[in-house]
Symmetry: C2
Subunit: 97 residues, 2 copies
């Protein structure tokens, strides 16, 4: 899983995410999305579910939480950019909402 | 609790925090500290304990987590700056480490 996405794999893995609210981060090979919930409890409850999957897959988000909002950035530090693990984790984050 | 700190209350409440790793945030009436743990599980476990207190006191941190590191900013949006609640939450954050 931990290879930087090639030109061929990039489109099929990223296009569905970019159509679902994810955006490329300026100046980095990374994707970002802001998740907004009704309350802090909803936001942090979602973060807790994400945290368990992130640890299980040993792939962790960069994320910032302010009350009901969570800004997430995904990239694979080991390969200096996006890998298939980022796409997998992004799909999981969307699915856990 | 939710009044902006006066000149008189500011020192007694903030000085002990500033001696314990908290810093004033440039350009905002807010305090910040970076907490570093051994692992992601340690960092997120601490965040979970903090989250429960934050919700109980209805006072929530701005925070960013990257693996074993958590950057926290405390301020009271309702009063446009630091209140006694920020000092109380800061002491709790330190105590929960």
């Amino acid at each position: 899983m931990s290879e930087r996405l090639s030109e061929e794999t990039r489109g099929p893995l990223l296009d569905p995410l970019l159509k679902n609210g994810w955006q490329m981060v300026e100046g980095r090979d990374a994707i970002a999305k802001t998740f907004t919930f009704e309350t802090f409890v909803d936001a942090f409850g979602w973060m807790t579910r994400v945290a368990i999957w992130a640890e299980k897959w040993n792939h962790h988000p960069e994320w910032r939480n302010v009350y009901n909002r969570v800004e997430v950035v995904l990239t694979t530090h080991d390969v200096g950019g996006l890998s298939a693990l980022d796409a997998k984790l992004a799909r999981k984050l969307d699915g856990l909402v």
